[in-house]
Amino acid sequence: MTGRGVSDSDMPDFARSSSPPAPGFHDETCSALLAGTALPADAPAPLQHVANVMAALRAGSAADELAGQARALAEFRRRVGGSRGPHRFRIRRPAVLSPIVTAVAVAVVCLGGFAIAGYARALPPSAQRLAHETIRAPSGGDGAPAARHPSTPAGSGSSRQTGSGRCAARSHPAKHSDARPSQTSGRGDKLAARPGPCAGAHPARGRNSASDHPDSEPEHGR
């Protein structure tokens, strides 16, 4: 940088444009050209030429400039046209129903999986108990049936009944009412002495079940 004492002749001269500016091109005339307003009659020739170009740009349509109307109209009819009445709902229905359909599908899949897992005894104990009570899936692990069926020996008969996938307590109601503490499978006396949770479900068979075969097949689901 030079100091303040430099003369004007020493300052560089930056030419902004190599060509001379066109005469008459002020902001007002440029705005008039862009807006399409009429130029004064004494406007310079370059301005008149540009005005002619602008007028040509605004000229009416040619045939080749209207060539794509058929495709646009076809797309319009497909997307928008004929939308009065039921067609409009036909368009919108998927957007409204899709969450509902999805939710129903998810619920069906979840319930189906729950049922399958319940019958395969692959659920956690609490969930298995819920499956057992709601959809008659097999009850849970080895200890739970023994507690519910205190009269059932802990041997092979018990395992057959619980392993059959059915509620042994309902098929042998008398065993609940006539349960003896000595036949429990290791549970406490209080628990074993209590009637089973299903004891009241078969009142007619409550007394004469001592001779029931402990290995008889369960009846649920037949």
């Binding site: 060509s19 500016p21 066109a22 091109f25 902001d27 440029c30 050209l33 862009l34 399409g36 020739a45 370059p46 301005l47 030429h49 540009v50 002619n52 170009v53 602008m54 007028a55 040509a56 740009l57 605004r58 000229a59 009416g60 349509s61 040619a62 045939a63 080749d64 400039e65 209207l66 060539a67 794509g68 109307q69 495709r71 646009a72 109209l73 797309e75 319009f76 009819r77 997307r79 928008v80 046209g81 004929g82 939308s83 009065r84």
Partner: protein, 184 residues
């Protein structure tokens, strides 16, 4: 330009009226094609068609006056042009010299083009000689009928820069016309 009846025409088109949409299309497509013939001369008609397809898909959701409508239309066209240029840069096309003559499409003879519109083509050819920004700004102002602020938003520049580009373009256009001795 449709003018004061634009709102009714737009509402009818949004309800599915064919004649209303045709009016919108005929009013705007000429300007759209002319704009595209300068900024995308190789694919102007294709981009115009794609632009209308895009506009039709969202026509129901459009809200605004005629200026907003035209701004939306030309913004869509400009974006489609940019997308087209990107696609072409990724997938270079085969030069037409390498294509057998038997595979070339047959087009209408040039004599089918109306002679009275030759001046419009000459004007567009003159605009193509300008720097792209100047040509685009002039087209959006003159052909599309957009104001300076709308053009500035559309091209992503300040209103002052748009004004300067337009004025420089007009001056350059005057010089080109004078040099070439073009009479429209």
């Amino acid at each position: 330009v449709i003018g004061s009846g634009f709102a009714d025409v737009l509402a009818a088109a949004q309800q599915g009226d064919d004649s209303a949409f045709t009016q919108l299309w005929q009013d705007a497509n000429v300007a759209l094609v002319r704009y595209l013939r300068v900024i995308a001369p190789d694919a102007a008609e294709d981009i115009a068609s794609d632009t209308w397809v895009q506009v039709v898909r969202r026509l129901r959701r459009f809200r605004g006056d005629e200026a907003a409508w035209r701004a939306w239309l030309f913004t869509t066209a400009r974006r489609r042009t940019i997308d087209q240029a990107r696609r072409r840069s990724r997938r270079p096309e085969t030069p037409i010299d390498d294509v057998p003559a038997s595979d070339l499409p047959v087009s209408a003879d040039s004599s089918d083009i109306a002679l009275e519109h030759l001046s419009t083509r000459a004007a567009l050819a003159l605009l193509k000689q300008l720097p792209p920004v100047q040509a685009e700004v002039i087209l959006l102002r003159v052909v599309a009928g957009l104001d300076t602020g709308t053009v500035a938003r559309l091209v992503g520049r300040s209103p002052g820069a748009v004004r300067v580009a337009a004025h420089r373009g007009l001056r350059q256009l005057a010089q080109n016309v004078t040099k070439a001795g073009v009479t429209l």
